[in-house]
C-alpha cells in the first residue's frame, strides 16, 4: 500500500490499462461473433451455431485455431519489418482506446479517485488522429515486406486509400470542433449537455448531420471495411496486404481491424452522439432504471430461450448466463452504482449501435472499384466536407457576433 500511496498515478493507470485490455480483447473476440451473426441473419442464415449455445464459444475456438496453426515465414521476406508490421498495427489500434472517456463518474481504485478514462489529454482528439495516422504503416509495411505481388498491391492500395480518406475524415470533424471549441474528448461530451425545446438532446449530430455522414464514410474507408475493403479484395488480390501472414500474426491484423472499428465508433459517439449522455431528459427519473431493465429483459429472453429450445449442457450454460445477467441487473438497480453505470451503459449502447451500422453496411453494399473509390474520396467527400466546414464556420460566426 505504501507504493500505491507514493505513485498513485502509475498504479491506477496500470490497473485501468489491464482492465481495459481484458475488456477490449474480449470485446474484439465477440465482435467477430456479432458480425458473423448479423451478416448471417441479413443473408437468411443462422451463422455460428454449433460451438457452444448460439455459437458463443466460436471466438474461443477461432483463437485456439490461430494459435495452433503453422507460422509461415516467407524466405524472401524482409524479416524484421515482416515481424514488426502486425505488432505495429495491433498495438497502435489498442493505444487509441486509452484516450476514450466512457463515463463522467469518478471511481476509486485502491483508494485513489480517478475518472473512467486512461489518459485525459488536453489535445485528446489530436492525439487520436496522430495515432490513427501512423496506423497506415502496419498495413503498408506488411504489404511491402512480404515480397509478394498481391501483398504489395494490397499495401499500395490501402496506403493510397488511407491517405486520401484521412483528409476527408479530419475535415469532417472540424465542424464539431468549431461548435464545441475544445480538443479534449471529455469536454467535447460535456459541451453537448442540454436540450433543444426541452426534448431534443444538444448532440452535434443534428447541426452536423453532413459532417457525421462524411465522418462515417471516411471512417469506413480508413478501417478498410466493405464497401471500401479494396486492400483485401479477395476476388482480385487473394487477401491483400496480409496474404503471406498466417497463424497469430494474421490474427493480430484481424484484431487490429476490429479494434479500429471500435475506436472509430467510440469517436463518432463522442463527437456526434453526446458520448455518455442519456438520450432521454434527466428529469424523467425512471430513465435511471433503464440499464437494469435492459439486463433484466436480456436475462428473461435468454432464460426463455434456454428452457424452450435447448437441452443438456447448453441449457445449463444458457441458464448460468441468464443468472449472470440477472445479477448484473440487480447490481445496476443499486442506487449507489447507478451514477457510475449509467454513463458507460449509454456510451456502450451507442457504440454498439454504430458497430451494428458497420456490419449492416457490410451485409448490404457491394465493393467499389478502385477508380470509383478515389473519385468518391477526392471529388465528392472532400468538397462536401469542405462546404460543410465553410457553412458551419459562417453560422458560428454569425451566432457568436
Amino acid at each position: 500500500m505504501e507504493f500505491v500511496a507514493q505513485h498513485p498515478i502509475l498504479v491506477v493507470s496500470v490497473v485501468k490499462i489491464v482492465v481495459l485490455l481484458i475488456l477490449t480483447l474480449t470485446a474484439l473476440a465477440y465482435l467477430t461473433w456479432f458480425e458473423r451473426k448479423v451478416v448471417a441473419h441479413i443473408q437468411s442464415r443462422w451463422g455460428p451455431y454449433f460451438v457452444g449455445p448460439h455459437g458463443l464459444l466460436q471466438p474461443l475456438a477461432d483463437g485456439l485455431k490461430f494459435l495452433f496453426k503453422e507460422d509461415v515465414l516467407p524466405p524472401a521476406a524482409d524479416k524484421f519489418i515482416y515481424l514488426l508490421a502486425p505488432f505495429l498495427a495491433f498495438s497502435l489500434a489498442l493505444t487509441t482506446l486509452a484516450l476514450i472517456p466512457i463515463g463522467p463518474a469518478t471511481v476509486h481504485i485502491l483508494g485513489q479517485p480517478t475518472r473512467l478514462v486512461i489518459a485525459n489529454v488536453d489535445a485528446g482528439l489530436l492525439f487520436l488522429f496522430a495515432i490513427t495516422s501512423i496506423g497506415v504503416y502496419g498495413v503498408a509495411l506488411a504489404g511491402w515486406s512480404s515480397n509478394s505481388k498481391y501483398s504489395l498491391l494490397g499495401g499500395l492500395r490501402s496506403s493510397a486509400q488511407m491517405i486520401s480518406y484521412e483528409v476527408g475524415l479530419t475535415l469532417s470533424v472540424v465542424g464539431v470542433l468549431l461548435l464545441s471549441g475544445t480538443f479534449n474528448l471529455s469536454e467535447l461530451v460535456e459541451g453537448q449537455q442540454g436540450r433543444w425545446l426541452h426534448f431534443i438532446p444538444r448532440w452535434h449530430v443534428f447541426p452536423q448531420i453532413v459532417g457525421f455522414f462524411c465522418y462515417f464514410t471516411a471512417a469506413i474507408a480508413e478501417t478498410n471495411r466493405v464497401p471500401f475493403d479494396l486492400p483485401e479484395a479477395e476476388t482480385e488480390l487473394v487477401a491483400g496486404f496480409h496474404t503471406e501472414y498466417s497463424s497469430f500474426k494474421f490474427a493480430m491484423f484481424f484484431m487490429a481491424e476490429y479494434a479500429n472499428m471500435i475506436t472509430v465508433s467510440c469517436l463518432a459517439t463522442i463527437l456526434f452522439f453526446g458520448g455518455w449522455l442519456s438520450p432521454l431528459p434527466a428529469t424523467w427519473t425512471w430513465t435511471h432504471s433503464i440499464p437494469a431493465a435492459t439486463f433484466l429483459l436480456c436475462g428473461v429472453l435468454l432464460l426463455q430461450d434456454a428452457v424452450r429450445r435447448h437441452r443438456g449442457l447448453r441449457q445449463i450454460a444458457l441458464c448460468v448466463l441468464s443468472a449472470v445477467l440477472f445479477a448484473v441487473a440487480y447490481a445496476c438497480s443499486h442506487p449507489g452504482l447507478i451514477p457510475i453505470i449509467e454513463g458507460p451503459f449509454w456510451f456502450l449502447a451507442k457504440v454498439l449501435f454504430l458497430l451494428f451500422f458497420y456490419v449492416w453496411t457490410r451485409g448490404t453494399l457491394p465493393r467499389l472499384r478502385y477508380d470509383q473509390l478515389m473519385n468518391f474520396g477526392w471529388k465528392v467527400l472532400l468538397p462536401v466536407a469542405l462546404a460543410n466546414l465553410v457553412v458551419t464556420r459562417y453560422i458560428v460566426l454569425v451566432l457568436n457576433r
Partner: protein, 164 residues
C-alpha cells in the same frame, strides 16, 4: 534523477540512434522507418516540454503524412539497396569531419546561451493560446506560408500533369 529526466535521455538517445540508423542503413525503407522513429521521439520531447499541440502535429504531419508518402514512393518504385558511387565516397570522407564541426559549433552556441534557454522555458502552452498567437499577431506570416504551400501544390500538379 527525476522521471522527466529519465524519459528525456531515453528518447534523446532513441532519436540519435534513429538518426544514425537513417544514414547507416542501406535499404531505403529501413532508412525511412528510422526517420519515422526520429520524428516520434522528437514528438515525445515536445510533450516533455508541455507542448501537447506541437507534439500531436509533429506526429500527424511528419510521421503520419510526409513519411507515409516517402514509404509509399519507395514501395511504388520498389527501390533496392543504395548504390555506392564516387560522390557518395566523397561524402563518406568529407561528411564525418563536417558533422563533427557542426556538432561542435552547435554545442558551443548552446553553451553560450544555456542560462537564457532555461529561463525561457515557460511551461505548458495551451492550444488556445497558441492559436490566438498564430491568428492574431502572426496572421500575415501564416497566410504568406499558406500561399507558398499553395504555389508548391500548383507546381507539383503542373510537373505531374505532362500533357495539357
Amino acid at each position: 534523477m527525476s522521471v522527466e529526466l529519465i524519459v528525456f535521455f531515453a528518447f534523446a538517445a532513441i532519436a540519435v540512434a534513429g538518426a544514425l540508423a537513417l544514414i547507416l542503413l542501406r535499404e531505403p525503407i529501413h532508412s525511412a522507418l528510422a526517420l519515422v522513429l526520429v520524428m516520434m521521439s522528437i514528438a515525445v520531447l515536445y510533450l516533455l516540454l508541455g507542448a501537447e499541440f506541437i507534439a500531436a502535429i509533429q506526429i500527424i504531419v511528419y510521421a503520419g503524412a510526409i513519411m507515409v508518402l516517402f514509404v509509399f514512393v519507395i514501395m511504388l518504385l520498389n527501390a533496392g539497396e543504395e548504390e555506392r558511387t564516387n560522390l557518395s565516397r566523397l561524402a563518406h570522407y568529407a561528411g564525418i569531419p563536417l558533422g563533427i564541426f557542426l556538432t561542435g559549433e552547435l554545442a558551443w552556441f548552446i553553451h553560450g546561451v544555456a542560462g537564457k534557454l532555461l529561463s525561457a522555458h515557460a511551461g505548458a502552452v495551451s492550444t488556445r493560446e497558441l492559436s490566438t498567437l498564430l491568428f492574431r499577431s502572426y496572421v500575415f506570416p501564416f497566410e504568406a506560408t499558406s500561399i507558398l504551400i499553395l504555389i508548391a501544390i500548383l507546381g507539383a500538379i503542373v510537373l505531374a500533369k505532362k500533357e495539357f
